[in-house]
Amino acid sequence: MSDNELLSVWEVFMQQKNGGPQQHVGNVHAADAELALQNARDVYARRGGNGSIWVVPSKEIYASGSDDEAPFFDPSDDKIYRHPNFYRVPKAIKNL
């Protein structure tokens, strides 16, 4: 195997419990999606699987970076009126 022909990296997402979301658990190296899925099973689900596993080529993931995180999340940072505790109602009211 020549040095420039490496196995590619796949990020692994698992559904940890039934009904839960797919969560990132790590990555595996594999030549294709099918082998990546088998490797992911062997590496991240040795004690049994619950829901499904996704594998995604690492280079296809486009992520926000921390350096620009402050401005990136700015638009939602100052909108406290999106949270219920922003609103004032009489204390005696129940089940609102």
Partner: protein, 318 residues
């Protein structure tokens, strides 16, 4: 943003207990130290399969064989978790593995000792994994997110390793005189080497200051070693084993088991490559890598054949 501001912002994040993630800015020294530490840790998991793998075909019964196979497979998995985490710091897995195969990178000195009898497998599970759990429980709180998450996953899996090892020793201690002697002999040979796993004395640990400052480590080598001795002595005494240390005594004020001085000459000799099995371990890893080359080649050939040219773009990702 200039270097000084970035550094001080980084220090503030560490002080506030905010985890550092791969895309965050970090000082080069932090990146370098963590890469060193994490790759050594990953190599240790991988080389750690060898002394135990030695006994898979000779396990005394099917139950022991299944447990040992599962444990060794776990160690392979643990190596992969940590390689994955280490790669996020920017060094490719191939480069990290090459550093191991060429002898440039270190791994835990304990795996350069041979497993001579079946009792050694019990002792390795109980003591070596026990010591690793003490260390990894601390590292699960470390400031680098991917490392911390890998440690959480490993700690959750490793308790069975320790317990199956202790069960092996308990069984031997309930057996014949010869079996009891075999267990004691294994403890005698592994006790001091296990204490060395925690590294040099704090006064002699060159990397510790930075690792503390960055909250990679939260307890010192000596603190971790003391904790390990404290929890292990009773486990040995309960089943009739003697700790091979004439200086071992309980201090009722500090509530510590005080122990004798470690043979540091031996520690440094093993680290420098002069342990009983250093050459054999490195050779075994190189053979495994070379003998596995056809699998990697075949998987790439198969993937290419199946997906044709579309795959080309995936293959060159480190």
């Amino acid at each position: 943003m200039d270097e000084l501001t970035r550094n001080s912002e980084f220090d503030t994040r560490i002080a506030e207990g905010i985890k550092i993630e791969p895309k965050d800015w970090m000082p080069e020294k932090y990146r370098k130290q963590l890469t060193r530490m994490m790759s050594q840790h990953a190599h240790s998991e991988v080389v750690g399969m060898l002394p135990e793998g030695n006994w898979i075909t000779r396990a005394p019964n099917l139950r022991r064989k299944m447990a040992l196979l599962a444990k060794v497979q776990d160690e392979a998995g643990h190596g992969l978790y940590i390689y994955s985490a280490a790669e996020t710091l920017g060094t490719s897995r191939q480069e990290l593995v090459d550093q191991l195969l060429t002898g440039k990178a270190k791994y835990s000195s304990i795996f350069n000792y041979p497993t001579l009898t079946w009792a050694d497998i019990g002792i390795v599970g109980w003591l070596v994994d026990g010591a690793a759990i003490v260390n990894q429980t601390m590292l699960a709180k470390c400031s680098y997110g991917p490392y911390s998450r890998a440690m959480l996953r490993i700690c959750a899996e490793e308790n069975f390793h320790k317990k199956q090892g202790y069960e092996i020793i308990c069984t031997l201690m309930k057996g014949t005189k010869e079996q009891q002697k075999m267990a004691q002999d294994a403890l005698n040979r592994f006790w001091w080497a296990t204490l060395m796993m925690f590294g040099p004395h704090d006064s002699n640990s060159p990397n510790s200051a930075d690792l503390f400052k960055w909250k990679v480590k939260k307890k010192s080598n000596d603190e971790l070693r003391q904790h390990f001795v404290n929890i292990t002595v009773a486990q040995a005494h309960t089943i009739g084993l003697e700790i091979p240390d004439p200086d071992l005594k309980y201090n009722s004020e500090t509530r510590n088991w005080e122990f004798g001085e470690i043979n540091w000459d031996e520690f440094y000799a093993v680290i420098k490559g002069h342990g009983p099995c250093n050459k054999e371990r490195l050779q075994a890893r190189n053979d495994a890598h070379d003998n596995g080359a056809w699998v990697r080649e075949a998987s790439i050939a198969y993937a290419k054949k199946k997906q044709g040219k579309n795959l080309e773009r995936f293959l060159n990702v480190g």
